[in-house]
Amino acid sequence: MIKFTNVFKAFPKGGLALKDVSFHIAKGEFVFLTGHSGAGKSTVLKLVYAEEPATSGEVRVSGFNLAEARRKDIPRLRRRLGIVFQDFRLLEDRSAEENVAFALEVTGARRASIPARVMRVLTQVGLAAKAQAYPRELSGGEQQRVAIARALVNEPTVLLADEPTGNLDERATRGVFQLLRDINASGTAVVMATHDLDLVRQAPYRVIELQEGALVFDSAVDERRDEAASP
């Protein structure tokens, strides 16, 4: 569903952010994207949601070949993705439910259907009681839940999360991570960039590790090879 084949990415100023990266993420998988700061985790995600084009190589996402996708195709791609960031990116002057509804309005959803769908996802992330609260009235963990609700409301096939717990304390981190696991359990693929290795060790999920733009470890490939090598 997400397929990188020999992908290179060079930024106009700055060197190679990605060097010959190839991997394939299937429907319903949970994948950690790890690596040191500057390793290229965010860049991989940006390529997936077509914020940046690959310099060379092929990126396929949910049936789109992004090299061939035109600007007007990008909204359709993004509606199949849910995207969550470290800094939440909520609109400060809208309440939690308005922030979530916004993602539906933007896609031209039927107006009558919006409130019920918004309440359903807010309930799913455990924030139904704070639907009317504004971001400044919510804790970081709660804001991230609103952002996750917004990402989910369009029923994406993949949730992309760029260090979603980066700004949260340990307890909030556990809560948000559990939420992502639940979301994954109900069938949505999750790609989570993080450098929280405790989190990575906690769960039996696939790990893709980047180092200075190169893919140096992919548990799906390397462990299979390890198993094949061992007698």
């Binding site: 949601y49 600007r71 007007k72 990008i74 909204p75 359709r76 791609l77 993004r78 509606r79 995207i83 990116r89 609109l91 002057d93 916004f102 993602a103 309005e105 933007v106 896609t107 031209g108 107006r111 917004r150 369009n154």
Partner: protein, 285 residues
């Protein structure tokens, strides 16, 4: 559509200060254009008033048969340039001289024979009151056999022509300059509004909004702000006009069409300015 309107109106509520600022900027920019327009309108009115006095007089040979003259008068009235042609008989001319030239009343009273010729006074339609047409009509009048001489203020008509040309040229250049400055200022204000909402635009695009969806509320808002600004500008111009009228000189105001044109111009700048700003912003992200 409903949603677009709501988003457009919401912007006024969310950023009342910036919205008020853009409306004010648009209003004052258009007000300056409007003031200049008022000057132009009044100058034109003054020129028209002056041109009102453009008249061609054909003096007739003594003894021209009245039937011929009446027929010719009808012909002259049928000239496309001519608004009215009036026959003034010798007696009428004398009468007029007596009332108008009071100082010579005695002299005129004692005359045995009326020395004044009969004439046909020709007034042209407003749009033909320029040197070329005046000359042309005068030439045609000279062609009548019973016409002795044709008079019109040649120098004066030519001066009027030149004045009109200067007024038109200055009006075009200065008006275009003012309009350009207004467009630039208004464009900058709109760009500020777009930049202020760049975070919102980024989030909209992230959740899958099309460029058209992002653009629409801005266009609507731009047009609406432009319209408000235009209305305020017309109001301010009216205030200025009322003051001038009361304390300085009798002046003219815009016609209804001109006022509507100013508001429409505001709306157009608001719309086009927003389209350009958002378009540029979207192309960069």
């Amino acid at each position: 559509m409903n949603l677009v309107f709501r988003e457009a109106l919401l912007a006024f509520r969310r950023a009342p200060l910036l919205s008020a600022l853009s409306v004010t900027t648009i209003a004052f920019s258009l007000f300056v254009v409007g003031l200049f327009g008022l000057v132009a309108v009044n100058l034109q009115q003054a020129l028209r008033d002056v041109a009102e006095r453009v008249e061609i007089v054909a003096y007739l040979l003594p003894g021209a048969p009245i039937e011929t003259v009446t027929l010719a008068q009808k012909d002259i009235e049928a000239f496309p340039e001519v608004q009215a042609a009036a026959f003034v008989s010798e007696d009428q001319a004398l009468q007029r001289a007596r009332t108008e030239l009071v100082e010579f009343r005695d002299v005129l009273q004692e005359l045995e024979r009326n020395p004044l010729p009969a004439s046909i006074e020709v007034k042209l339609k407003p749009r033909f009151r320029d040197a070329e047409h005046v000359n042309d009509v005068a030439e045609r009048l000279r062609g009548f056999g019973f016409v002795d001489d044709v008079r019109f203020g040649r120098d004066w008509v030519e001066k009027l022509d030149r004045l009109r040309q200067i007024a038109a040229a200055v009006g075009l250049v200065v008006g275009a300059a003012f309009a350009a400055v207004a467009i630039i200022i208004i464009g900058t204000t709109i760009r500020m509004a777009v930049l202020q909402r760049s975070r919102e635009i980024a989030i909209m695009r992230l959740v899958g909004a099309t460029d058209g969806f992002v653009r629409r509320p801005f266009l609507l808002q731009g047009a609406f702000k432009g319209m408000l600004g235009g209305l305020v500008a017309v109001g301010l111009s009216y205030g200025a006009y009322a003051l001038i009228n009361r304390w300085l000189i009798h002046a003219a105001f815009f016609s209804r069409e001109q006022a509507v044109a100013i508001v429409g111009f505001g709306m157009l700048i608001g719309f086009v300015g927003s389209a350009a700003s958002v378009g540029r912003h979207l192309r960069r992200v």
